[in-house]
């Protein structure tokens, strides 16, 4: 028999979006019982790694209209305009709330909150706490969440299944990593805030835990994954590790140089105009890729591949220490380079997923009682390309919205019969028990994962071709079959990280399937999806979202309208 616990709202994920959702629900109704389930202690969530900042208008020279326009243009007109409008309106309120809760935002001399420039943003609207913004936001949210007595945490619990019966979601099955037991955590509403899935690719800024679990959980229950072909390559990752060097380096005035020491974003036409280093990420990653392909990349002893240089030397030590101390720490520790004295070698690195669980503007999915927010969701704020610093704010705005709407929903929802849900959790416990230490065809988790990584890098890189994407589709299908032959060596119930890795690999294979399936169908170039065989945007045929549905016979796709109405789609040129 599985252990059963009962709550009102069950939140899966303790990152920026999950914690914000928990606080919103708790503030609305202190009587609610809220479960916060996370596979790592909340302060380990990958929000912690965000460096550069969070966007919201703050200055007299800025307006909601400008933030909205920058965002829709950045999205290559695939963002839903009602969502963008709501987002820019809520953004300043959310960052102010965080200020009241103690976030140590960097300050101007007069005591007001300081803002910095960011890619694709037409003025300084990115709030920052030096260059550890995600860290400070996450710790502020986590510490603040502790003052609410009605948030019950399930730390180091890995959710393996949503409990769904007849199109209603009423909880989750979660593996207690410490004991190896699967529990049923029931609630009248469930909010997925499990973050992105960068570990599907080999060279990424994402941490080990970013395996797209929530996307897979929803996908398996029949919810569509939306706009999965759009994955963001950040222009500046460190060699070898892929550790991020924030865009704030360029916001503060850093240059990108090729091996001839030339600022190629200025000397050549890459579509970013006078924005130069502050162009949007998709364009700058393509520019670096082209510079390297043209033989103007920088070589580094002992490292494969070619790089560009990110030069901060002219900013001077004082500014680097005041604004970018973490960048200096990371460059020294992980690239053996002190940016005060040398340029930092970098290259484009997989960073962020624009796509995710399809939700409406209220963070609701197609299943009753199931909500999603943050990077795991696709509420359609980011369209085909996210602007840097919009996503931390997105976690707050739509995390809060999910918390509020879930709370509203449960007022009218009856618990109903819990029997079918508990039975599902029992079956899930049996499935997980069977997976632990199972002996099959001898495939290894690490090897299957590596092959998936390679297939995804080759098929869904900065530039894509029909042939390479089609190849990735069939490779991923074959690798999914190989997963069935994975054998596991660890049969212990206690903190079995091999079992976790296997569960995560299965989730990543779902994400990989949806990404490749959506990518091959989009025969145009839009935002981060740059097709070498279809080089331009095609609004006549492709101004729509893509949906991918799971089915036993392979993925099925559909189209979904983009919400327009405020800004007319136009050529995206800076």
């Amino acid at each position: 028999m599985v252990d059963v616990s009962r709550h009102d709202v069950v939140i899966v994920g303790g990152g920026g979006a999950g914690l914000r959702a928990a606080i919103a629900a708790s503030e609305l109704d202190p009587e609610l019982s809220i479960a916060l389930v996370s596979k790592v202690y909340p302060m380990r969530s990958h929000t912690v790694s965000a460096e550069g900042g969070a966007a919201a208008i703050a200055r007299d020279d800025d307006s909601l209209e400008m933030h909205g326009y920058d965002t829709v243009k950045g999205s290559d007109f695939l963002g839903d305009q009602d969502v963008i409008q709501y987002f820019v309106e809520q953004a300043p309120k959310e960052l102010t709330r965080l200020e009241h809760w103690g976030c140590p935002w960097s300050r101007n001399e007069d005591g007001s909150v300081s803002t910095r420039a960011f890619g694709g943003m037409s003025t300084k609207r990115t709030w920052f706490a030096t260059d550890k913004v995600g860290f400070h936001m996450l710790h502020t949210l986590f510490q603040t969440s502790m003052k609410f007595g009605n948030i019950d945490r399930y730390d180091e619990h890995f959710v393996t299944k949503l409990l769904v019966d007849g199109d209603v979601c009423r909880g989750v099955a979660a593996l207690d990593i410490r004991t190896g037991e699967v529990k049923a955590i029931l609630g009248k509403a469930v909010i997925l805030t499990t973050g992105g899935g960068g570990k599907v690719w080999p060279f990424t800024t994402n941490g080990n835990i970013k395996t797209g679990d929530g996307m897979s959980l929803a996908y398996r229950e029949g919810v569509a994954l939306k706009d999965m072909e759009f994955v963001q390559y950040h222009p500046t990752g460190l060699p070898g590790t892929g550790i991020l060097i924030t865009e704030a380096t360029r916001g503060e005035g850093g240059y990108l140089l090729n091996n001839e020491g030339e600022r190629f974003l200025i000397t050549r036409d890459y579509g970013v105009g006078t924005k130069a280093e502050l162009g949007p990420r998709d364009m700058i990653s393509r520019a670096i890729t082209q510079e390297i392909a043209a033989g103007r990349g920088v070589e580094i002893p002992g490292k494969l591949g070619r790089y560009a240089h990110l030069d901060l030397r002219h900013l001077g030590e004082e500014k680097i220490m005041a604004r970018l101390p973490f960048v200096r720490e990371l460059s020294k520790a992980y690239a053996n380079v002190d940016p005060v004295h040398e340029p930092i070698p970098i290259r484009p690195v997989l960073h962020y997923m624009m796509g995710g669980v399809d939700t409406d503007i209220d963070a609701k999915t197609s299943i009753d009682g199931l909500y999603a927010a943050g990077e795991t969701a696709c509420v359609s704020l980011n369209g085909a390309n996210r602007l840097g610093s919009n996503s931390l704010t997105e976690c707050l705005v739509f995390g809060a919205r999910a918390g509020e709407h879930a709370t509203g929903y449960i007022k009218g929802a009856s618990v109903g019969e819990e029997g079918p849900f508990v039975q599902q959790a029992e079956a899930e416990a049996a499935r997980v028990d069977a997976l632990r230490g199972r002996q099959r065809g001898g495939e290894k988790v690490s090897k299957v994962r590596e092959d998936m990584n390679t297939a995804m890098e080759e098929g869904t890189g900065v530039y894509r071709e029909q042939a390479s994407m089609a190849k990735a589709v069939s490779e991923i299908a074959a690798i999914r079959q190989r997963f069935e032959q994975v054998s596991l060596d660890d049969s212990s119930k206690v903190f079995n990280t091999e079992l976790i890795a296997a569960l995560e690999l299965a989730n990543m294979l779902d994400v990989a399937e949806a990404v490749t399936c959506a990518a091959v169908l989009r025969k145009e170039s839009r935002g981060a999806h740059a097709c070498s065989d279809f080089e331009t945007r095609n609004d006549t045929e492709y101004l729509h979202h893509s949906l991918v549905f799971h089915s036993p016979d392979g993925p099925r796709s559909e189209k979904k309208d983009v919400t327009l109405g405020i800004w007319e789609p136009e050529e995206r040129k800076y």
Partner: protein
């Protein structure tokens, strides 16, 4: 590519399902010279022994998951360069914590301590969002910024001689965090936290060994925070006889 190096890793293993006491296991592996200790452990897990259990995520020294004992010292393994060590490297779980399995330690005790210091802004009256952001000068920010940099990696608990002797000691990181809020110009809860600081296991349990600040990978200086808090508490305690301190805060 760079020349690989041969290393011997002696890793502490413990599986409560099977073992009465911890044992060690030796792995001979080849490493890249620029690897960190964590890279070697991941290499062992992926290619030699998938049963090895350790925590990690960000591999960029910010999530705080990967603290372990390396050659007897508490280290953040994702930032700890292989080049600092010789041919043989011993990796064990952090000291002063119960072991869950292999290199994974029990954090529940710390999580309770953490909550105990009330690490959130306490004010008599909540500010409304419409009032906008609070003014805080760069100097006021500097009063607490350093103490807000803790990644909860637990190295300071592993290094602290008081933690190992006094089970009630709130400990360096949690005390530094409480002090962080006391120092924040937006907070009005210092008198509440100071009461906790003066109590059992509070700041006066600290013997000022300073080990915590020496091992801290983020220069938080918990020992400095505790000394400041001690001073603040002597004053707070003295003035409490003269004026009634603070109002109701939550």
């Amino acid at each position: 590519m760079s020349q690989k190096l041969k290393k011997t890793f002696i890793v502490t293993r413990f599986d409560p399902d099977k073992d009465e006491v911890p044992k060690t296991q030796t792995y001979e592996i080849e490493v890249e010279p620029d690897w960190k200790i964590l890279d070697a452990l991941n290499h062992i897990k992926d290619t030699v022994d998938p049963t090895l259990s350790h925590r990690w995520s960000c591999r960029m020294a910010v999530c705080g998951s990967c603290g372990m004992t390396v050659n007897g010292e508490p280290k953040l393994t994702c930032k700890d360069p292989m080049s600092d060590y010789g041919d043989t490297i011993e990796v064990a779980p952090l000291a002063n914590f119960p072991v869950v399995r292999d290199l994974v330690v029990e954090l529940e005790g710390f999580m309770e301590r953490f909550q105990e210091v009330k690490p959130w802004i306490m004010v008599a009256k909540e500010r409304a969002v419409e009032e906008g952001t609070t003014q805080q000068s760069p100097d006021e920010l500097a009063d607490f910024k350093q103490f807000s940099m803790c990644i909860n990696c637990m190295l300071c608990y592993a290094a602290c001689p008081v933690v190992s002797n006094e089970p009630d000691f709130i400990g360096p990181a949690a005390l530094a965090l409480g002090h962080r809020y006391n120092q924040d110009s937006r907070d009005e809860g210092a008198h509440v936290r100071n009461e906790i600081f003066r109590g059992e296991g509070g700041v006066f349990s600290c013997s000022f060994a300073n080990e915590c600040s020496e091992v801290c990978p983020k220069s938080v200086n918990p020992s400095g925070a505790i000394q400041q808090a001690k001073l603040g508490n002597v004053i707070d305690w003295a003035t409490s006889f003269v004026v009634k301190r603070g109002g109701d805060v939550s």
